[in-house]
């Protein structure tokens, strides 16, 4: 996989400059010092976690899984290297100094050797021969036959396994990209507030009290509580080891300023996370310890998120600020120290494609704003300060989002737009007006719903209510259309496979309804396989995984005294904003609208001619391709195309709710990560005029360049697409490209604020902006088909960029820089 597309183009020019160390970095010198060490570092694979974890697991086979995990976590806490790096104010690391990744052999242990040998050949990560040898000898053998992924594969029905993996058990067959056991659970945010406010001693006391009340014979519940107590002790011991280390270092430190800092660090680590944080620095340290524990316990997709940072950090922040203990600069410095800690931890995913995420993408989503549990606007001084930090120092970690709602103050929206205009892609926007009702549909109270935390891309969590989510997969929608048109045959990498027989033979498809009928049947097959794998994953993960730390901090688990990986009946909610992601929605609906109009209504060509054109990848059929490109296009507030899209949404939703897993019915989402690129690469031409190998459409967006009526029309289309018949499809990822001309100056700021208000009013889920830069225009010049939507915006003038002659295009390119601010 390459970079993750929901944060696509996250490395803007500005950020690249920062990474290369050119120009002003951060107004804070301490932070620049970190950057010097950081920027040229290839992340190192640290094997401590894998080795310690395996050592412990070997000793504990007689125990219940949550006790085993708790003991293993404790073993790690007590033995992992304690490292305090130069000038750090927040301490703690999952795997030594510098940029590092750690390993989770319990998931895909047997595949690790291949992945790590692959690493040595590439240059995205590094691991020494010695460390690799240790993993091969001490770690992998234990997991052979014992890993979560093997158990999952063993459970999969053979036809489902073939549908997903083809002949192997490593790569994807291109129809359903399976993320099983790459991570242990879906996206999650830490429940930091609980530890910052109560301290682990108090939580431990509660667990002990509960333990005393468990009937003697309920060993499962007792195990849950015993495990919780162990992880509390483990993390508190880990903090004490840091306190000792800081004292040692302070005693020999010659620089008096650093000596004083180390002494405070020692005090902090003596106090938190055992006790409630008394000041902002302690709260930050506590947050990082908790984050570290989550990271060491198990991998979550996108890495554990920060949650509502401006809410749970606010009490200590404002207290210190008012008392003069800190000023804004000091708060920024502490926060940026944490951003560096976050940037230093790089997830290593054992996947089929190159075995890693090349862009090191991980999104510890940090959310600002939104509403309080009582429904009041939650914006505070810290909200603005975090935005300021991102503006002054655009490191791409952590990920940043802002929750918006109808009562979001203009001042916050103004600050948000100000940051968007920097062109870094931050922040992304999430809309309370759609997300809160969806959480209520899922079964949350309105108070809990208002307290949701976005995680990773566009997913949301209610931290004390949501429970286990088996990691889902991505389904290839255009492949289902190909099957509908071709007697159930699909072509991936040029290989044909017949997977089903639709009820209408392709020669007998006479109407658009015929085609939809076949599509529905093909889609049903995809969904059946999805549910089969999802059920297998829920059951197999419940058997081999446990997360005592995460469970202890989740009220639903504590109420049920059940680990988060187990089915938790009557407590919590085990469906979030979607485990299944549908890929290529735009590609599909553009194809359907074009076929409906050109084949069935206008009869410009026949279905057979279309299929010939697709088979030939449009070679010799350019007129057909042009007609397809010029058919009514979804995303332009065009009623014809949007109605086709709405019908399609209804079919996808309806089929989806025919089935269920042991945990219940599943929701789905439009969040592609990079799958739309990977799947597109393997697919032939599609009836929307897309050529073989080109990317499928992304998220809920139309295909690149098809939305030629401006961004408001796109919002209106997406509003019209929602069929609203079922309640299982909400999370729609939307990236919008903005021309710098339309956001220039204070007028541009106000216009963009109005645009975002429209997004909130229309109750759409997610929105993120990319500002078009010079490079985009150069690409448009070279590849006009993909950039048909670029409008040249000058007073009283109308034209598209790609319609201009090359010299005029060059003129505009040369004028595009520095237009935003």
């Amino acid at each position: 996989m390459e970079e993750l597309s929901c944060c696509k183009e996250i490395l803007t020019e500005h950020e690249k400059r920062v990474e290369k160390g050119i120009g002003q970095l951060s107004p804070r010198p301490r932070i620049n010092g970190f950057l010097t060490n950081f920027r040229d570092q290839v992340p190192r694979i640290d094997i401590q976690r894998a080795v310690l974890f395996t050592e412990s697991m070997k000793q504990t086979e007689a125990y219940p899984m949550n006790i085993r995990k708790a003991k293993a976590l404790q073993h790690i806490f007590n033995n992992i290297d304690i490292i305090i790096q130069d000038n750090e104010l927040i301490v703690g690391t999952c795997g030594g100094a510098g940029r590092h990744a750690i390993l989770f052999p319990e998931l895909r242990g047997p595949w690790l050797e291949k992945a790590l040998r692959g690493v040595q050949k590439g240059n995205a990560f590094r691991i020494s021969d010695e460390d690799l040898q240790t993993v091969v000898e001490k770690v992998i053998p234990y997991w052979k036959g014992n890993s979560a992924h093997e158990r999952y594969l063993a459970m999969l029905p053979s036809e489902t396994k073939e549908f997903i993996y083809g002949d192997g058990d490593w790569g994807s067959a291109g129809l359903l990209q399976d993320n099983a056991n790459i991570n242990a659970t879906l996206n999650w945010a830490g429940n930091y507030k609980k530890v910052i406010n109560r301290g682990l001693l108090d939580i431990k006391r509660e667990m002990e009290e509960r333990l005393s009340q468990v009937p003697n014979n309920d060993y499962t519940k007792m195990a849950f509580l015993q495990a919780a107590i162990m992880v509390c002790d483990g993390l508190m011991d880990y903090a004490k080891r840091y306190a000792t280390k800081a004292r040692e270092m302070a005693s020999i430190e010659t620089d008096p300023k650093r000596k004083a800092e180390l002494e405070v660090i020692a005090q902090n680590c003596e106090w938190v996370p055992a006790h409630p944080a008394r000041n902002f620095w302690e709260a930050m340290q506590c947050q990082w310890f908790v984050q570290t524990a989550y990271k060491l316990e198990q991998p979550t997709v996108g890495v554990i998120s920060l949650g509502r940072f401006d809410q749970y950090m606010y009490p200590t922040f404002i207290k210190d600020l008012k008392a003069g203990v800190i000023d804004e600069e000091r708060a920024l410095e502490l926060m940026e120290c944490m951003w560096f800690k976050i940037a230093s931890y790089v997830p290593f995913n054992v996947t089929a494609t190159n075995n890693y995420f090349e862009g090191y993408c991980h999104f510890e989503q940090t959310v600002l704003g939104g509403q309080t549990r009582e429904g009041k606007d939650a914006t505070n001084e810290l909200t603005y300060l975090v935005l300021r930090s991102k503006k002054e120092f655009p490191l791409h970690y952590p990920d940043l989002s802002v929750r918006l709602h109808s009562g979001t103050p203009n001042s916050l929206l103004h600050a948000v737009v100000d940051l968007i205009k920097q062109g870094t892609g931050f922040p992304k926007l999430l809309n309370d007006e759609e997300i809160i009702p969806q959480a209520i549909f899922n079964g949350a109270s309105i108070q809990d719903a208002r307290d949701y935390s976005p995680c990773a891309c566009t997913e949301v969590r209610m931290l004390d209510l949501d429970t286990y989510m088996a990691v889902g997969g991505n389904l290839n929608l255009p492949a289902a259309l190909e099957m509908a048109l071709n007697e159930g045959v699909v072509t991936i990498d040029g290989q044909k496979k017949k997977l089903m027989t639709p009820s209408i033979k392709s020669a007998d498809i006479k109407t658009f309804d015929d085609l939809l009928k076949n599509f529905t049947e093909a889609w049903d097959l995809f969904i059946q396989h999805f549910y089969k794998r999802q059920a297998a994953l829920e059951i197999s993960n419940a058997a081999c995984l446990a997360a005592p730390f995460m469970s202890m901090l989740n009220d639903a688990c504590v109420e049920a005294l059940t680990d988060i990986h187990q089915p938790i009946n009557n407590h919590g909610i085990s469906k979030d904003s979607g485990a299944l992601s549908v890929i290529g929605f735009g590609t599909l609906v553009e194809s359907l609208a074009a076929i409906k109009k050109l084949v069935f209504e206008d009869k410009r060509f026949t279905l057979d001619e279309l299929k010939d054109a697709l088979k030939a990848n449009f070679e010799g059929y350019e007129p057909i391709r042009q007609m397809l490109l010029n058919a009514p296009q979804y995303g332009n507030n065009d009623d014809y195309a949007d109605e086709v899209a709405r019908q399609t949404d209804e079919i996808i939703c309806e089929v989806m709710q025919r089935y269920r897993t042991p945990n219940g019915p599943q929701n789905f989402k439009h969040v592609p990560v990079t799958t739309h690129i990977a799947m597109g690469r393997r697919m032939g031409a599609t009836p929307n005029g897309r050529k073989a190998g080109e990317s499928l459409s992304e998220g809920i967006s139309p295909s690149q360049g098809r939305d030629s009526e401006g961004p408001l029309a796109t919002l209106l289309s997406i509003d019209k697409v929602k069929s609203r018949v079922y309640n299982n499809n909400f999370s729609r990822l939307l990236n919008i490209k903005l021309n710098p001309q339309v956001v220039a100056g204070e007028k541009g700021t106000h216009d963009l604020m109005a645009f975002i208000r429209s997004f909130v009013d229309l109750k759409l889920w997610h929105l993120q902006f990319n500002i078009i830069n010079k490079e985009t225009l150069i690409k448009a010049q070279k590849n006009p088909d993909k950039y048909r939507n670029l409008i040249v915006r000058v007073a009283g003038y109308s034209a598209y960029f790609t319609d201009l002659s090359p010299d005029l295009q060059n003129e505009i390119i040369s004028r595009t820089e520095h237009q935003v601010v």
Binding site: L712, K747, A754, R757, L808
Partner: protein, 312 residues
């Protein structure tokens, strides 16, 4: 019936931000009494529907050629795999346009009813939450005053901000008819020198200047923004602009005065229509110098200094 009136429109542009406050839809009306040599919308000048050919969109006669077969009047011929349109033979039957797969052959101009225009734009009401609206531009919108007045009235009735962009070269009655439904009028004053005006725009400026005066006196509630397109070697000297500013000083009501730096982005459209572009080779103006000039005359006119809105 009012609803039956149609307007001849050559484009509706969504999400415009340089033609009035907020995010706007701009309706471009076809037909103009002026023939400014710097015109960036040459398709706006003729009131007729015009076939145009965008050579960059055409995929070539070898792989397509449907238009040649469709044309029974020998108006199309082939040159280097692309087509050449002979307008003398063309009867505007549009068969070639209908069959063109890539929309390389297309028509500038479409007759639309008020309802049609309203439908195409009014559902963007979400954007009008913060001061956006509708702007009718051209061409010269006042050549179709009945249509424009009726359209703007519809918008005013639902509380949407309305604006027009006019050359001012129309009968006062027409201007009056439309102005009553406008919140804002962008009024072009290209140059004060009558002879020069005639030379470069094809018409006299006496009516224009009279209309501006009447408008300013008669419609104190309408915001009037006078605009001058600044064209190299034609009216880009400081004296050209201060001369206009001196005139503007005499107006009882002036909301703003803006300078629009010349750009040559219309050139491609001249080629599509096989029209001659007389300013070929003239470079677009750097907006920074125009901005300074604008600030200077704004001071003369006692207008507030403006934050840089980023006009090209």
């Amino acid at each position: 019936m009012l609803k039956e009136i149609t307007g001849r429109i050559f484009n509706i542009q969504k999400y415009s931000v340089h033609d009035g406050p907020g995010i706007r839809d701009v309706v471009f009306m076809k037909g103009c009494p002026l023939k400014c040599i710097w015109c960036s919308n040459p398709e706006s000048q003729s009131s007729d529907l015009q076939i145009a050919y965008n050579i960059t969109k055409c995929i070539g006669v070898n792989s397509c050629g449907h238009c040649i077969k469709a044309c029974t009047f020998h108006a199309l011929s082939v040159s280097e795999d692309k087509i050449v349109l002979d307008r003398r033979n063309c009867v505007n039957c549009n068969k070639c346009v209908d069959i063109c797969c890539s929309k390389a052959l297309h028509i500038f101009g479409k007759d639309m009813t008020i309802d049609e225009v309203f439908q195409k734009t009014q559902n963007q009401a979400g954007a009008w939450r913060s001061n956006g609206g509708i702007t009718v531009s051209g061409g010269e919108p006042l050549l179709q005053a009945d249509f424009v007045a009726a359209l703007l009235k519809e918008y005013r009735n639902i509380g949407v901000h309305t604006a027009i962009e006019t050359t001012g070269f129309v009968h006062w009655e027409k201007l009056k008819q439309v102005a009553q439904w406008c919140n804002l009028i962008h009024f072009d004053v290209k140059m004060l020198d009558a002879q020069k005006h005639r030379k470069y725009t094809g018409v006299d400026n006496i009516i224009i200047l009279e209309n501006l005066k009447k408008l300013s006196a008669g419609f104190p509630n309408v915001n009037i923004i006078v605009r001058t397109p600044v064209i190299p070697d034609i009216n880009d000297q400081e004296c050209d602009i201060t001369e206009i500013a001196e005139y503007l000083k005499t107006l009882p009501n002036l909301y703003d005065y803006e300078l629009l730096p010349y750009h040559g982005y219309g050139r491609s459209k001249y080629e599509q229509l096989e029209m001659a572009y007389e300013l070929k080779g003239v470079a677009s103006l750097e907006k920074s110098s125009i901005y300074d000039l604008n600030q200077c005359v704004r001071e003369m006119l006692d207008l507030p200094r403006k934050t840089y809105a980023g006009h090209l």
